[in-house]
Amino acid sequence: MKRMRSIIGRLAFVFCFGAAWGCGARIVTGVPLESSPVPLASQAAAAAVDCGLFPGRAESTDAISTVGLAERIDPAHAPHPANESERLLFRQLYETLIRADCQGHAAPGLAASWRLDTRNANGNTWIVTLRQNARFSDDTPVTATDVVSNWMRDNGSELRPEVGRLVQSLVAVDDRTLEIELQSRRADAVLALAHTDLAIAKPVSGSLWPLGTRAARIDSTGSSVITLVRLSGNSTVRFLVVPGRDSRDLLDQGVDLLLTRDPRTLDYAATLPQFEKAPLPWQRTHVLLTPGQGRAAPSFSPEERRTLAQDAVRGPARGAEGPFWWESLSDCEVTASRPSTQTQSAAGSIVYDTDDAAAREIAERFVGIGRYPRASGLTGEALAQALRRGNESGYVLSVERRPLDPCREMLVLGEIAGWIDPQTIVPLVDTRLHAIVRRGRSGLTTESDGTLLLLPTGSIAR
């Protein structure tokens, strides 16, 4: 019965959400049109959506105790992740005001409730109320002033640039209440508050790790092990950090959880009976950026995209499926792109990010079928410069498939290269991670960006 209710609820919700997305109606997910706070009951209903990694499976008592991470972790980045491994680890420590659950619904995070401020004519000001028992992991209370100071520069007079892409202004009305004016006027604009750029953390002297507001804290760090301790129950989660090594070694070392898109690791996990695999949401879309207005950008039919994913990409991939967020930016105030000042060479290369295996495979496939004469792999500043110049035949990059704030994503792309605009973005292939989980482990839930939560969401209320 419970399962039936869950399915019906999910179907209804998807219908409503889809309609809202397509029509652009000003229906805020989880928030009725009336300007009243989202009651906890509604939130509880939203939270009833089963975002467990293995939906419908009964909870077990065995929680995840060891997690394998194949990328470098830098505490200086906290709470804003720079790679998938940091995203997973930081998500266990730091919260945003609002979460976006696996269905893309706004769910309570650090905030207990939020409402559109109808007194404000601009239509993008929200009154957000922090949850009553919000505390940092050192048990100090989290106040609205903490949120404000987190989002401000060190001088305290202006927002940090990455915050400024999402938020226009904010004011601490009282200890628990914030008045936030968002940049976006989209119907789902409040989801922007779930962006990791807005995660809340408190720096601590003498520690590289700032304090978060989740029910966990860093217990110890070593050269390749980071230990998290759950504040309730005192159990720990060990994160084994082995950048650059074969991730199959982590399986052999006995981790409980490993996220990967490497086909060899997935194939190896399939041979290990103690593990099971679960695909995570399609998280990234690989696109072809074609600089130069006036030149007809290539387009690929869904069938061609499917074939490309099948022929080129070795890991989990499919042809990119719409709708594509860059095709519906009418509500965004996006600066018009500047055409590339460089002349595109007819015999130029197709450039890809060397750190992105799928991008490399796609670019090489284009060369293999003769679409481009050569592929060039770049990374870091070299890639940034190449993008700014925009004088290559094409660029294969990956973008968020379902960004929390599409306007912000377009803004970021524009900052990367002024010539990028929606007309220059050609969708190719969607990719996703798989979670390899030791059988019998539970407590894993997914969020809209595919990140896993190791802690039950109920632990938010301490």
Binding site: P263, D311, R314, E361, V367, G368, P373, R374, A375, S376
Partner: protein, 579 residues
Amino acid sequence: MLLRTRVLLSFGVVVLIPLALLAFGLRHEMTNRLTEEYQARVDSVVATIPEDLQYGSADISARLASLKTGILIDNRFRQATVGGDESERDYLLDFAESAMHLTGLSMLQIQDEDGKIISSGHFRNEHGRVETGLTEALTATLKHSPSGVALMTTRSSDGEGLLSLVRSETIQLGGRTFTLIGGTAVDKSFLAHLARDPAIVVSLVYPAGGSSSASEQEGAPAHNVSAADAVVGWLEVPLIRVGTEPPLEVATARLQVTQSRAPLRDLQGSVDSLFLMTAVSAGIAALLMGAWLSSRISKPLADLAAKTAVLDLDRLDVRFGGGSDEVGSLSRLLGDLASRLRTSTTRVRDAERRATVGDLARQINHDIKNGLIPLRNVIRHLEQVERDEPASLSSVFAERRPTVDASIVYLETLATSYQRLSPTMVHRDCDVNALIVEVVRAAQGRDRAEFATQLRANLPKVSGDPIALRRILENLTVNAVESLESKPGRVSVITELIERDGERRVRITVADTGCGMTKEEAGRIFTDFYTTKEGGTGLGLSIVRRLVMDLGGAVAVESEPGKGTRIMVDIPSGSVERK
């Protein structure tokens, strides 16, 4: 030509010319030998390269055969290719890459009978591309290749292409024919292995490409090296170019084996530098030797010649030094000669003096006797008359008086005549300072005397015989120089105006820093025939005194042994007219 110049030239000829001949000869021989050796090395490598390529090609063939065996028993491969099982598609697409790594190949592609690439190890995502005719072209090329090997360029994702030494293997599977084309990369390390020797550079030149076993930093030779830069050998290898326009082309690649002449040039440079340094050192040594010989031979000889030139009967006071060498011996001989000459000259002068004095004495004796004999006779007659006839004494005296008068007149005339023998003095106005300048100028350069003059300006003229005055100055200066005894010393000539007894006089002082005299010696120096010098006449200063007195002047001497001597000559000043 000076001795120094002759010595230098001789040294140069004796040392530098043989050195240069040695240098050029050695360099030429070294160049020839090394060039021959380089050529032999290059020829040796060129001869062994075909063997190495054949060995490599055979190895590739063996690996493909091994791979073929593996494929034939691989069910998944069969399912993917013959069975068309889509579920094994990924397996098939990744197969060539795994197989390539397992067999140690650098490139591997598997084509079906239509030439379509079904799996590529070196460029995974080119699967599906069709290369028609490649297999046939490769087979034909291998068959006709003189070395039995073939190279092939295949496409790569970076557009650079991959050049490989290739072979092929055909597989029959389920009624279908598949071709394995595999090879090892012909890259820098491959060419370096062919070269064997790090000094040898093997380059591969082919249309629209090239590779070398040396990096650009190591000075990889240009493809068109000149004979001056390197010793070159080459051989040709067939090359199949894939992915070009036209899509398939059989060309010829050229393996160029190069031995740079740079080490030889470096060696030549080092040898040249060494010989140059040696020549310069020899030149400097020659110069130093010449200078040393000059100082040891030429200069002493020149000094000796200068002293000998001064040597004269009037200048026998020149002192010749000694030495242990031949010049010293010559110098001692000349010194002995001068000494004997001085002795002889002294004797001769003594003899002359005695002869002259003797002659004069005899003449005077004769003339006086002539004058005295009549006087004696008259005296004797008068004595006799006084004895015998004293009363007739006065008459006899009166009678004999003319004879006495005549003798007396004869003797007076004789005296007057002898007085005329001395030259007569001419009195003129004489500029003493000018005379001193002339005399000092003439005397400079004698021995090691340094002359100094301190002449009073506007000195009044003196009245006298300029020749006599000159003789005075010359004798005084000669005497002063001789007192230095050929050692370094100073002769000063000073003029001043003094007043004595109400009369103004020009005082000429000749001072020396010579050996000086004792008081006794100083009191006798103006005496005729007195001398302290070996071979001296003893008349110099006596003549001076006489001449000074003839001028109405006076002469005085001050001396101290070891310190020097001052001779002061005072001559009344005033012109002839005033007098």
